[in-house]
């Protein structure tokens, strides 16, 4: 019994230490590809990079240009939580359930666009970069709702105020 306990303990401790050795490497490798917040997900990247700032808005996609809709007051907390979650998880975020909930705040709207903008200072240029992701939420004729995420996230960097690149999301595991 004592021997079994000792073996189990050694296994648990060895596993925990192995995770502690390996996971931060994986975390750092995945971060630029999935754009999650390096302070989150246990990679010990706290204070390694500035915390991103975010802005969540709901727009009317049937109108030309960007027309923001005003969500009801009681949705503020949920919007803020979604904003934090999308900032923390980056491309890992599953916005489907929240998007379906959001269109219910606008019973007369045939469609909405949920937009998440994130700004943060980029290493190298030391200027604020912008990352935008959106989800089109459409109310179908049969009462169902379809959520379509943007195909390419808009990832914009600036050098001396000029936009220099727009990078589509291509996971790279090479």
């Amino acid at each position: 019994m004592a021997l079994q306990l000792r073996r189990l303990r050694s296994l648990v401790v060895a596993l925990a230490l192995a995770v502690l050795v390996v996971w931060p490497f994986v975390h750092r490798y995945l971060q630029p590809q999935y754009d999650f917040d390096c302070w989150k997900l246990f990679g010990f990247g706290m204070y390694a990079a500035p915390t991103p700032r975010f802005y969540v808005s709901i727009e009317d996609p049937t109108q030309p240009g960007r027309v923001e809709l005003t969500p009801p007051e009681e949705s503020r907390v949920a919007l803020r939580e979604f904003g934090f979650e999308a900032m923390s998880l980056g491309r890992f975020v599953d916005a489907d359930a929240f998007a379906r909930r959001a269109i219910e705040w606008f019973p007369d709207a045939p469609a909405i666009r949920l937009r998440h903008e994130r700004t943060w200072v980029r290493a190298g240029t030391d200027r604020v970069g912008l990352w935008v992701r959106y989800w089109d939420v459409v109310r179908n004729g049969d009462g169902t709702v379809t959520v379509t995420p943007s195909e390419d996230d808009i990832d914009v960097d600036w050098v001396a105020g000029a936009e220099v690149q727009s990078v589509p999301f291509v996971p790279n595991f090479n």
């Binding site: 303990r9 230490l17 997900l41 990079a49 979650e85 200072v121």
Partner: protein, 297 residues
Amino acid sequence: MHDAPLIDKPQSAFEPWSRAGDSPEESSHRARWVLVFVAVHAAVYLTRVMWLQQLEVSPPELVALGCGWAAVLAMVLRRRVVASTLLFAGLLTSAVLLFPFTANHGGLFVLLSLLLLVHAPDANDRALIGALRIVVALVFLWAGIQKLWYGYYFEAEFFAEYAHSKVGFAELFRRFSPDNAATVLNLNPSQPGAGPFRSSSVALILLANFSWFIELLVPAALLKRRAWTAAALSAAAFTYAIQAFAREFTFGLLFGGLMGVFLPLRWFRWQVVATVVIDLVLLGFLLTGGGERWHFN
């Protein structure tokens, strides 16, 4: 001719780290003080994240919070297995409930409580202390590697941006780089294209680079037993100094306090006593609504 005493037979792969410095009795004392430190600090942490941060508390959050304070009670009653089990249950529940917002120190708390739990049934304190020392060194090492790897410290870029979030860092910037401070602090970190966020002050750049350098140097120094006290004191002092500006006391006290596993036992005891006193003062602030919420991160 006689066999070596049973206590000297290796009981764990981590014993080389635990044997150095401590006798078996000292390891037992140290393990008890580690439990005091983790239990009280975790209970205050859980009080903030599970209760005081929110308007409504769900039953699972109450369970996590209850586990934290029940663990303190069990620790006082010297029920080590019960205390470790409750700690692990409370901290794991909180980490799951908070996900994806769980802080790194929330994850570290879970790992510490897991180590306390698996070593509790037969009180294998030398192995526990050995594993804790490895964890502490690895966490410090990773914090340094990540800072170096992300590249926001070479020209104090992180400080320049963080000065917009934390008053303490803005003060630091004004003190070390008054010419540059006005320009940097007038930038809008939410405005795409704004910048550059960096410092021209040599002193500030040196200070920024010292951050990752010491986090890499300390784990390397900890490989030598003779350097433990100096390395652990430097690391604890560095952590407390940084938190004087960042003012994230839960995080700072945890990281600084954990370096105590490398200090002489009597020093570690005082460090734990001081941390518990500070924790209780902070708890008083929390319960009476004093201080800024983020001070308790």
